[in-house]
């Protein structure tokens, strides 16, 4: 790890489901467990509600990584929608790789309401992995003209 990546604090957007993984985060909080503060959690009713647009928007808006989290396979509150999230995760990863976003920046984590400790330790692990990858620095719409992206190039 270089000096630059050591001091880098990644911004991670985490999508949790209302019934399991958000409760796991809640449990980690009420049990006063310590974990990295880099993840901003957004609660959805179900991981199956996760529109891939949310993930692309997060990366385009400056997130360094995205966490998708839901109930364990077989435990979904809506019977099978977490499998839908699983399939979308696999396909998103392929597309993001082609767009130059390292597969390590997208993580899928199953966590039951009782797994606060696992949730906390997995997040800390993920933050370290993203820290090693370094910042993503996707160009923001307003800065496109002045950043190198729009500088003139010669043949």
């Amino acid at each position: 790890m270089t000096e630059e990546t050591k001091s880098f604090e990644p911004t991670i957007i985490g999508f949790t489901c209302n019934w399991c993984s958000y409760r796991a985060a809640d449990m980690a909080g009420t049990a006063r467990m310590k974990y990295a503060p880099n993840v901003r959690l957004i609660r959805l009713m179900c991981s199956g509600r996760l529109d891939p647009t949310f993930v692309f928007k997060a990366f385009a808006s400056g997130a360094d990584a995205v966490l998708i989290s839901g109930c364990h396979p077989g435990d979904c509150h809506y019977i099978s929608q977490n499998y839908k999230a699983l399939r979308r995760f696999h396909l998103m990863k392929r597309v993001l790789t082609q767009l130059g976003i390292e597969p390590g920046r997208l993580k899928l984590l199953w966590a039951s309401a009782a797994e606060g400790a696992i949730f906390a330790s997995e997040i800390t692990k993920f933050v370290e992995e993203v820290r090693a990858l370094g910042p993503l620095n996707w160009p923001q719409p307003g800065e496109q003209v002045s950043t190198p992206i729009m500088e003139e190039v010669t043949a």
Binding site: P52, R87, H90, M92, L99, G100, I101, I149, E152
Partner: protein, 329 residues
Amino acid sequence: MSKPKFAMYWAASCGGCEIAVLNIHEKILDVDANFDVVFWPVAMDAKYKDVEAMEDGSILLTLFNGGIRNDENEHIAHLLRKKSKILVAFGSCACEGCIPGLANFSPVKEIFDTAFSTISTDNPDNIRPQTHYAMPEGEITIPTLYPVLRTLDQVVDVDYYMPGCPPESHQIAAVIDLVIQVLQGKAELPPKGATIGAGNSTVCDECKRKRNEKTIKAFGRIQLIHADPELCLLEQGIPCNGPATRSGCDARCPSAGAQCIGCYGPAEGVVDYGARLIAAFASVIDSDKPEEIDRILDGLVDPAGQFYRFNLAGSLLKAAKPAWKSNGG
């Protein structure tokens, strides 16, 4: 009374949009009867300086096709914006990047290498184009390529969008009819920012093929599948982009036995075209096991190309990382 002025321009595009305009057949006479065509490089001789000399806002209608790939494209986009009352992003390139926008997957250096140094190019001295070159007669210049292609509305303010690669001729004719009616005071223009000359639904909505519940065990390329002529193509494992694509073409490709490739761009309300297709395709895969899901997805040979064939420059991420990181060729 002098006729209102009309202009059409091509930036980074193939010229298919101009052909589509001429394909409206005798309706083109209505254009001539109602408009004074002042600038249309493919159809008539006019110089940039003639446009520069025009009064601001003096062109009533400009159809701008093509993306913004170099500084000449950008200059003309700004110029025509200033001179036009109504600027229409005409065709997929201007609206969302289209095929030229696929170059946003690659850094400029790779684009130049492919164009000038691959085996199919006879260029033994590896000569590359220079933007400035001193000749005995004086210095000559050619436009400078930008690292990525941008859509028209990423560069200037756009009044209306007309999607399609190219827009269907009957849709162009309908739009021209509308503008003429507006001129005669018989109709009103749609609100600014509207998509014109297209439907508000999806290609699937217009498609006549039979649909059942979709469960896909394998994806395959269309040339390798003996497709049922009546049944939904996606149900047969052929990656058809109909679920996310805007209607307006009368589902031409699926009616002819080919899958929709998405040239009419994102349907109403779709923020990111590719993300919508990822949601749609992943939802109908019939497996809950990670290994099997991966095996089924292997059937989609080039997912990013499949989902962003027309839409990369206009998508949320706009370009692949190697392209926007490149800063020299």
